[in-house]
């Protein structure tokens, strides 16, 4: 039994492999569920119900899917150039900081137009996220530091900044209007007009999700139909070939990091505008949700394809949402985590099968005893 590199990857594999991985994951999980005394079939039915088919399930799923759609796109945008921006987490916090600042500023000037708020919040959040992402970007482009480490470290810095703004200072973001708010720190509530609208009544779709879909489409066009994406593809495949062809690799590192950070930042704006309506500085809120890290999983499962990120985000969002519903006295939350871990594990294993072919053959019978499958050297 051995693995051989596939020379070409048929298109249907890119659909069959992720689906197959999911099936295998659910198979393994069924064994674990049965071993821990849960009925797998019943559990899966509950998951399906809570995530997609139940009453209001899709609305809840969209709420979970929206932030990881943004962070998934952010990761996909950078990873496509082999630029491993692990910092979507921190870039999202910074986006939330930027979006809440502009919303509060506009509120102070008593602006009332919601579209104005939405645009201003997205721009401010995008800028904040992009600038935060440019720190590892500049370091990578000019000092050749490893962007994985720098962007990861900056996540903790961003988290501490968030806590500092609400808990450890009397910053512009902190609500100090009432005695209670001074004793129990919290962020200022956003002005009413800054709350983002939703679509639909049966199934409620937040505006952030729609913006995310539009971003995905734009990103797809950027990466498959435009010069920008062509350059990214060459740099990803061979930096030497890119230099040979006269491409500006440094500039591209900066712009890809900026794009990636901006998308994650807009995800932060969506958190403020769509859901929390205040800057959440606690370590149990935004910081515990780990949207940035989940986004990496989403991007990996979608094989960095922006359009596939939309689908995967909804799928993973549904699973997370179902996790909240499932966990209870007889269903520990750890088991939910195990399930998500198994899915990731199988997806990464499937990735291997996508690039390599498994060949099974009998051990050295008289005819089959040929040499290792290496290229003929002449």
């Amino acid at each position: 039994m051995k693995l051989e590199r596939r020379l070409e990857q048929p298109w249907w594999l890119s659909v069959a492999v992720p689906l197959g991985s999911l099936v295998v994951a659910f198979g393994i999980m069924a064994v674990i569920l049965a071993a821990t005394g849960h009925d797998p079939v019943e559990t899966y039915r509950e998951i399906l119900d809570a995530a997609f088919t139940g009453n209001g399930a899709f609305s809840a799923t969209f709420i979970s899917a929206t932030p990881i759609l943004f962070t998934g796109l952010a990761a996909a945008a950078a990873f496509r150039m082999q630029l491993f921006n692990i910092g979507a987490e921190g870039q999202l916090y910074l986006g939330a900081v930027g979006a809440s600042w502009i919303a509060l500023q506009l509120g102070d000037r008593s602006a009332a137009s919601t579209p104005l708020y939405v645009v201003a919040m997205c721009v401010a959040a995008g800028l904040a996220g992009a600038l935060w992402a440019l720190i590892p970007g500049v370091l990578r482009a000019f000092a050749r530091t490893n962007e994985i480490i720098t962007s990861l470290m900056l996540n903790y810095v961003a988290g501490l900044l968030l806590t500092y703004l609400i808990f450890d200072s009397s910053s512009y973001w902190r609500d100090t209007s009432t005695l209670q708010a001074r004793a129990f720190p919290q962020g200022k509530p956003m002005p009413e007009a800054s709350n983002w609208p939703t679509f639909g009544s049966e199934v409620v779709v937040p505006l952030g999700f729609v913006i995310g879909l539009a971003t995905a489409l734009a990103l797809w066009v950027l990466y498959t139909r435009m010069r920008f994406g062509f350059e990214v593809g060459v740099i990803a495949d061979s930096p030497r070939a890119a230099r040979y062809a006269g491409m500006r690799t440094r500039r591209k590192i900066l712009s890809v990091m900026a794009v990636s950070g901006a998308i994650a930042g807009i995800g932060g704006a969506s958190q403020i505008g769509d859901f929390t309506y205040t800057l959440d500085g606690s370590t149990t809120g935004l910081q515990a949700a780990a949207f940035g890290y989940t986004g990496i999983v989403v991007a990996a499962l979608a094989r960095y394809n922006p359009l596939a990120v939309c689908l995967v985000a909804v799928l993973i969002g549904g699973l997370q949402n179902a996790g909240y519903t499932l966990q209870g006295p007889d269903f520990p939350s750890g088991l939910v985590g195990v399930m998500q871990g198994i899915i990731l594990f199988c997806a990464l294993g499937g990735e291997l099968l996508f690039r390599y072919r498994l060949r099974i053959r009998r051990r050295s019978s008289a005819q089959g005893a040929s040499g290792p499958a290496v290229e003929p050297a002449r």
Binding site: R227, R240, A241, G246, E375
Partner: protein, 501 residues
């Protein structure tokens, strides 16, 4: 080795090959690129397993399941590309992978190993310091380390794969002395080469391979260069280069290099105060042993490397240097040494690679949007005109053979109508047919007025193509010869730094 057959997908690399070598002889394995020499030696060293046939060693039939089996049987090979760990010392490299006695202990007893290495190197005339780090050594010295590795393991059979490709003629002479000394001690040396005069100089007997088959085994003594060449290519050929009329060239200096100084990868001066000019339609060959500044010179002219001092002018326009885009726009085409990885992006399609330099032009993009259809048409055009064998323009170039990769690169560079073409090792690793094609493409380009700077380690190639030959040694031009008047001996002497002595 009797009746050895080895098939690879699409080719039979060895077809019923018979080969035998005696104790105490230097036996040459002669054949063109692709004749199956390397495959045969890879079978003998256990790297491949034959599909059919038997191997007998000292009268006993053997079956190798891995390279280690072959090593244990006393067969060592010195590959064309050395298998050395650069940061390690010579002594460490020598014991690396040896799993007997001294080397097997957890604590490596280095002084004992060093003494043994020293003793071996003085006995066989392989001057090298056992304490030196491999990266500090010249290519010739590294090769000696490889031979020491074999001697240390008490190899009875030593296979040398094209050992002189990286050596000066003088270093090669010294190597031949070592090989003769080993043979006199009763060892067997198998010497793989496609160079007739070397085979004649060092071997006792010669086995000639052609197209994967054994053609003949002859004694080296009575054989002539002409008779060996005839066996190798299957017809009588003229060993001497046909004399050509010097071509008439317009007096337009397309490329002017003046006082050029360039740093190498480690910051050392790799190209020292080099000046020359190439006229419209002229091919200038740069001859030299690998690592004497050819690569750095090519990269400086094509903008891949910074210019430390001096100037490069293309049709009178001075380049700032260190910027490939600037060079491309000035009209410099570049066929790099490393085709797959520098010249081409391996996982991308033929189409993407065809437009990799020109995607910014108006013909392939409307504003920031790419004109995908026109890109594809351009790729189809190049595939057709330059006879690139590929399943289609969407195939990743990684799946193409070496010859087709080179045709693709050449096609792309020619289509851009360059003024100057920098060509490095254009035929390395290609088979005979592809070499012919590449040479004719280069001649055609020169005929159309392109000034060509040709770097090649293959002297025959330079003699076959160049109008004028520059010889480099340690980053300096040590000689300039007109092609018609140049002799291999003279160039060889210059390549080895002979001019200064």
């Amino acid at each position: 080795m009797v009746g050895i057959t080895k098939r690879f997908p699409g080719v039979v690399a060895n077809d019923d090959v018979n080969f035998e070598a005696a104790e105490g002889e230097v036996h040459a394995l002669l054949g063109e690129n692709g004749a199956g020499k390397t495959t045969l030696s890879n079978i003998l060293t256990g790297l491949y397993r034959q599909d059919e046939g038997e191997i007998e060693l000292y009268g006993e039939q053997v079956r190798f399941h891995s390279p280690r089996d072959a090593l244990d049987a006393g067969i060592c090979m010195v590959h064309q590309h050395f298998r050395l760990v650069e940061p390690f010392s010579v002594a460490e490299n020598v014991v690396l992978g040896d799993h007997r006695g001294e080397a097997r202990r957890i604590v490596v007893h280095s002084s004992a190993i060093e003494n043994r290495v020293e003793e071996l190197s003085s006995r066989y005339g392989l001057a090298v310091n056992p304490k030196a780090r491999v990266w500090q050594l010249s290519v010739g010295e590294q090769q000696r380390v490889e031979i020491l590795k074999a001697l240390y393991r008490e190899a009875r059979i030593l296979i040398m794969d094209e050992p002189t490709a990286v050596l000066t003629p003088q270093e090669a002479e010294a190597l031949f002395g070592t090989l003769r000394a080993m043979a006199e001690e009763g060892k067997t040396v198998i010497f793989i080469s496609h160079k007739l005069h070397e085979v004649k100089a060092v071997a006792d007997r010669v086995t000639v391979l052609r197209g994967g088959r054994t053609v003949a085994t002859v004694d080296a003594e009575p054989a002539t260069l002409r008779s060996l060449a005839a066996l190798m290519v299957g017809r009588e050929i003229d060993v001497a280069r046909p004399l050509e009329q010097p071509r008439r060239l317009a007096d337009v200096r397309t490329l002017e290099v003046d006082g050029l100084t360039v740093a190498g990868d480690r910051g050392e001066i790799a190209v020292k105060d080099v000046s020359f000019a190439i006229r419209e339609g002229e091919i200038v060959g740069v001859a030299g042993v690998a690592g004497n500044g050819q690569r750095e010179l090519a990269e400086a002219v094509s903008g891949m490397r910074d210019i430390r001092a001096g100037s490069v002018r293309i049709a009178g326009r001075r380049l700032r240097g260190g910027d490939p885009r600037e060079a491309i726009l000035a009209g410099v085409g570049h066929v790099p040494e490393d085709r797959l990885g520098t010249g081409l992006a391996p996982s991308l399609s033929v189409t993407s690679n065809v437009v990799i330099k020109t995607y910014r032009r108006r013909s392939f993009s409307r504003g920031p949007l790419l004109a995908l259809r026109r890109m594809r048409e351009a790729a189809v055009g190049i595939i057709r005109r330059y006879d690139v064998k590929t399943p289609g323009p969407g195939t990743p170039v990684r799946n193409l053979s070496g010859g087709n990769l080179q045709k693709l690169v050449l096609g792309r560079e020619f289509e851009d109508d360059p003024l100057v073409l920098v060509v490095a090792q254009p035929t390395r690793g290609l088979d005979v047919g592809a070499i012919e094609t590449v040479h004719s493409y280069l001649r055609d380009a020169a005929a159309r007025g392109v000034a060509i700077l040709l770097m090649s380690e293959d002297l025959d190639e330079i003699l076959a193509l160049a109008d004028r030959i520059l010889v480099v040694y340690e980053g300096e031009i040590v000689g300039e010869l007109q092609a018609g008047a140049a002799s291999i001996d003279e160039i060889g002497l210059l390549m080895g730094g002979g001019a200064s002595e």
